[in-house]
Symmetry: C4
Subunit: 191 residues, 4 copies
Amino acid sequence: MDKGRLEAFSDGVIAVIITIMVLEMHVPHAPTLQALVEVGPVFLCYVLSFIYIGIYWNNHHHMLHAAQHVNGAVLWANLHLLFWLSLIPFTTGWMGENHFAAIPTALYGVVMLMAAIAYWILQRTLVKAQGPGSLLSKAIGSDVKGKLSPLIYLIAIASVFASPKIADALYAAVALMWLVPDRRIESKFTH
Amino acid sequence: MDKGRLEAFSDGVIAVIITIMVLEMHVPHAPTLQALVEVGPVFLCYVLSFIYIGIYWNNHHHMLHAAQHVNGAVLWANLHLLFWLSLIPFTTGWMGENHFAAIPTALYGVVMLMAAIAYWILQRTLVKAQGPGSLLSKAIGSDVKGKLSPLIYLIAIASVFASPKIADALYAAVALMWLVPDRRIESKFTH
Amino acid sequence: MDKGRLEAFSDGVIAVIITIMVLEMHVPHAPTLQALVEVGPVFLCYVLSFIYIGIYWNNHHHMLHAAQHVNGAVLWANLHLLFWLSLIPFTTGWMGENHFAAIPTALYGVVMLMAAIAYWILQRTLVKAQGPGSLLSKAIGSDVKGKLSPLIYLIAIASVFASPKIADALYAAVALMWLVPDRRIESKFTH
Amino acid sequence: MDKGRLEAFSDGVIAVIITIMVLEMHVPHAPTLQALVEVGPVFLCYVLSFIYIGIYWNNHHHMLHAAQHVNGAVLWANLHLLFWLSLIPFTTGWMGENHFAAIPTALYGVVMLMAAIAYWILQRTLVKAQGPGSLLSKAIGSDVKGKLSPLIYLIAIASVFASPKIADALYAAVALMWLVPDRRIESKFTH
């Protein structure tokens, strides 16, 4: 089966997701600084979601680069991941327009949690498709970040009822954790 | 003629369709669970349509992978399929916003029926372009699912006037039928 | 310079244009046949524009397939064409929402005229980039359709002030003229 | 690491940005010339931004064509550039709808300035990834335009408080400066 077209389709979907998200940042009518400041919360959410989707694209890129075999199960596990990512413009807009209120902030975390689970499923499916002792399974290694992220999302979702600010800080922390260069897969290729 | 660019263009269009559909799920203004629940029907339609478009992408991927020759007729048969698929965001939004009312549910089925017919035409055109005894025609085989789907859509459209719920159940059933791994084309390559 | 990336970018832009056009067909609020009928004119315009953009993609595909050399002038001539094509969702929405009124119908023709001129410029730029006696210049031949189309657009724009229906019929006629398989370039490759 | 997928993803994002921008040009309700004239300022902004994004795509295309090595830092520098480009539909819509008022015109320049800085960072990161004496670093040369543009943006942003028209003229001047064929990288390949 054709890995190239799977990558091309994923790139297309992720490119549209990351870009249409900006449409949720509605152009204000008044030409004033005040009007711009009101867009602030949506902009902050946009930055956060842009980084998250960038991280997913980056990791997706590395993971598929290390993979050699793709089958029907991988196609569906990939579509499952794209489904949850496609909801990010919605949760981003809702959280931003409501200035990080509790329920929208919790939903943002739920979608992130589901996307993280979907990514984990895709990873498992891909590893299985490569057969034992594959380059990919070595490259993934212990996958500490991948195991830690869903846990932090769960804590963030629960913390919303105490204060949404804790959740927002946790979402930012997860993004930062991933932004730190992930040398796992890359290093395996260099050595 | 260039099969690669046909695939790339189709991937692009399908990627945009599957993603802009989420724009029909309007971000609610209130930050309440109640507001989220009201988006429920549109979300359900979105899930259904996402799966349908995923199925089409999957099948399109397999079919073109098995094809070797592409001509002008194939390009137009492909555009014809993309046309009907491009209407899915519209029918999804209409059915969802009106909580699965009769007429929008019927229209959803009509567009699905037309897409199925368009897919069948594309399949015939591709088989013809490969010449006799092609790998593709063997891979397609009896195509039971492809022949059954339009029939079920017709029944669903008619059943709308009894109860739209029957139609919704039938749409879900067709999606499930296709989600079950289709080993036809894949297996031909393995053996 | 890289022909592949020019094709990929054009495919991306054309894929987005052909798909976001459907967003101009606003989902009606009422779940009635009457509400659907009111979308009729926008739908008709959508079909017409979908066919036009399909024709452009098809011809673009063939033309670039026959080309071997691409330079900076070609990149800009291509972007110029994409600019006029990108206005089609706007003119389609305006003509449809106003039920083929005179001014929107004229503007539709103006944008089509500009796109035809832009295509002609791109063709000239590409032929020049190939050098004398190229496969492309032979494949283009006398280009009767390409010379006829702008003339018909001009007549259509002028006829709007008599009756927009004449213009609409002429737009449909041009689309039909191009839909008839264009064997020019294709046949050159076969022989 | 895979240069092809970086190019494909960038092409996808830029293709979506350049095309969804047209959605900020809202279809007027009345079928009159007057209604069309009112869209004029948004149209002018659209033309300007289309050219800017075309320039970025062109330069991005050339720069990556001359590059041979891509690493994790390049992926993120590229996403950083795409982030600022993704804000252009927003600033275009705001400046256009408010008929080139001071604050929106200044914001337009701020985003252009940030995009120029992001492009410069990407260029530095790419050059570093190629190692010393690379084809890319020779091709970039003194990069006069790249150093001049941010300066002009700064002047434009400051001039907004005197008159937004000065800023608009400066934005147009930068676009024109880049439209003049940039033979730097191209010529290095020809010789």
